[in-house]
């Protein structure tokens, strides 16, 4: 229990340290920023480039615009973050299904592992920005019966493209992890492929899957935000990032609000998966005495 509090304490300390660095730099830095020859390596400490921490936080509690009907900035950010979280979650789920599916195929057939794995690795070297517009334009042509492709689905698809990779790799390693002795034991019980999968491979894969799922969640959030920007989807945090950055010269603190929103979003996504780890804690035991 005291270890848990220590962890919280260190977390708070890290945030405070960041605040202190920010404000400290603002206080002591030269007016023109830090230059290395002709190149500026650290920004000017002006209020436009680096608003005070309290200004950035305070701005969250003010209305978005001066219009009398305007909502509080934090409400707008929270709603946008929730929208993005929903899209990212959809992408994550698709990523889980695709990733685990690929891992199952690769575990079952060695030939599939040789054939697929290089392509899976290669897929992650294609820059997201490059194919986001393509996905969007393909998506807009999809129309099956009453089902019509929505723009958010393109974003979720791109998020899943980033999410599936760590999940596929982690799941493959996990499914391959049972000891030979356990595999032979299942063989002596005349347990078939599916029984072995359910009773041995999946439980044994849990310790590998959990970090992979968490990585996948963080990737899905990044993918969703970037895809929102590059497909121009309204309503999410990605759109606000671009929109508010455009207003930064007049209202510099406002531009930081969606960034905070994105950070919280990532933490919530990764934290939800950590919760999964608490539920499955018995699957993280090892046979040897701890």
């Amino acid at each position: 229990m005291s270890r848990r509090w220590a962890a919280v304490g260190w977390g708070v300390f890290g945030v405070l340290l960041l605040v202190a660095l920010w404000e400290g730099y603002k206080l002591v830095a030269p007016a023109d920023g830090v230059l290395l020859g002709e190149t500026r390596v650290l920004p000017r400490p002006t209020d436009i480039a680096m608003p005070h921490v309290w200004e950035m936080l305070g701005r969250l509690g003010e209305p978005v615009t001066r219009s009398p009907s305007a909502q509080m900035l934090w409400v707008v950010i929270a709603l946008a973050a929730l929208t993005t979280l929903g899209i990212a979650a959809a992408g994550w789920l698709v990523g889980v299904v695709v990733g685990v599916g690929l891992a199952l195929v690769m575990q079952r057939w060695r030939l599939a592992e040789w054939g697929l794995l290089p392509w899976i690795v290669l897929s992650q070297t294609v820059p997201l920005i490059a194919f986001a517009p393509i996905v969007k334009s393909w998506g807009s042509k999809v129309e099956i019966g009453s089902f019509e492709w929505q723009d958010w689905m393109s974003v979720a698809l791109i998020a899943s493209y980033l999410a599936f990779f760590p999940i596929a790799i982690g799941a493959l390693k996990g499914l391959q992890s049972p000891d030979r002795i356990h595999e032979e034991l299942m063989q002596t019980y005349a347990a078939g492929y599916w029984a072995t999968l359910a009773k041995l491979r999946f439980p044994a894969a849990v310790p590998y899957l959990l970090p992979a799922l968490r990585l996948g969640a963080a990737n899905a959030v990044v993918g969703a935000v970037v895809a929102e920007v590059s497909t121009g989807l309204q309503g999410g945090i990605g759109r606000l990032l671009v929109q508010f950055a455009g207003q930064a010269s007049g209202d510099p603190a406002k531009a930081w609000a969606p960034i905070f929103g994105a950070v919280v979003l990532g933490l919530v996504a990764a934290g939800s998966v950590a919760l999964l780890g608490v539920i499955l804690k018995n699957y993280r035991r090892t046979e040897e005495a701890a």
């Binding site: 356990h182 034991l185 002596t188 019980y189 029984a195 018995n282 035991r285 046979e287």
Partner: protein, 306 residues
């Protein structure tokens, strides 16, 4: 299990597969492994009959193929030549019919399952109803003396306790044959002797035949009706030594009536036997067989009493 009343020899049993007297029959079995360094003859010309209810140990130096032989019986590997039957069936059929239970040197428990759930695993896989499963698991844990540990996880147990769970698990399907590959090899001496005494009792209680791989001479002598002494490269059976302990005559040699009589006398083996004259004589006999027939000093002196 209903045993046939007529004492049937191995030859007779081969002719009537419905009531086979022998648990295991190994006929002219060779096993060759292809490795990068060339062909390795793991086993050559193995002939062995294990009667129902008989306790047979396989002993020999590393590389003599004793574990390989056990794996062939368990259908975890296939012989290169020759034939094996388990209760008159092919090893594959015997495996599918769950004719044998198996225990390895490592306990091989699933770490995410409790002790009870580990023992229940084979029953679960074979669709035994949960009430019947719980009753059977309780009975088995009583037998190995771990009833109080049913809800613990393997990492909360000592090595000896883990191994006892593994033995309970191997008995879950009430097999007529137990295959054990150095199950006590990783245990300390005290635990090991305790486990040996437990195994003598359990094998008598269940009436199962046991094929027991070990490299400890006293362990083989204490447990067995017969000790199969093997030699390496290529793995061959050098000699089969029947155990005559505490005045009882082990006359099994593959016949079931003999094996049943032996199982009865085996159940009476206690720790006192470890200090009995006949025990040392048998240890010497196995030692001499292991060392290729050259006589070694008889009696207690010079006996590796491990």
């Amino acid at each position: 299990m209903s045993a046939p009343e007529i004492p049937a020899g191995p030859a007779a049993s081969a002719a009537s597969p419905t009531a086979p007297a022998s648990a295991v029959e190994v006929r002219a079995v060779d096993k060759v492994f292809e490795t990068r360094g060339g062909l390795v003859h793991a086993l050559e010309g193995i002939d062995l009959t294990v009667a129902a209810g008989e306790f047979v140990s396989l002993i020999g130096p590393s590389g003599c193929g004793k574990s390989t032989l056990m794996r062939l019986i368990a259908d975890l590997d296939e012989p290169s030549a020759g034939a094996i039957t388990v209760f008159g069936k092919t090893p594959t059929q015997a495996r599918l019919d769950q004719e044998y239970g198996i225990a390895f040197q490592q306990a091989g428990l699933l770490p995410w399952r409790t002790v009870a759930a580990n023992v229940a695993l084979p029953l679960e896989l074979h669709g035994v109803a949960s009430a019947a499963r719980a009753a059977k698991v309780g009975e088995l844990l009583d037998m190995v003396g771990l009833a109080d540990f049913a809800d613990r996880y393997p990492d909360q147990l000592s090595g000896g306790m883990q191994q006892r769970v593994a033995i309970a698990r191997s008995l879950a399907e009430q097999p007529r044959l137990l295959l054990m590959d150095e199950p006590f090899g990783a245990l300390d001496e005290m635990t090991r002797e305790k486990m040996q005494s437990d195994l003598v009792r359990i094998s008598a209680e269940t009436g199962a035949a046991v094929v027991f791989v070990t490299h400890s001479i006293p362990e083989a002598v204490f447990l067995s009706d017969r000790v199969v002494v093997m030699s390496p490269r290529p793995g061959r059976i050098r000699e089969i030594v029947p155990m005559r302990l505490g005045g009882a005559v082990g006359g099994a040699v593959g016949s079931e009536a003999g094996a049943r009589a032996d199982a009865a006398t085996r159940a009476e083996r206690t720790d006192d036997l470890r200090e009995d004259r006949s025990f040392f004589d048998m240890v010497t006999a196995v030692r001499e067989a292991l060392h290729g027939g050259t006589p070694v000093a008889t009696g207690a002196r010079g006996v590796e009493n491990r």
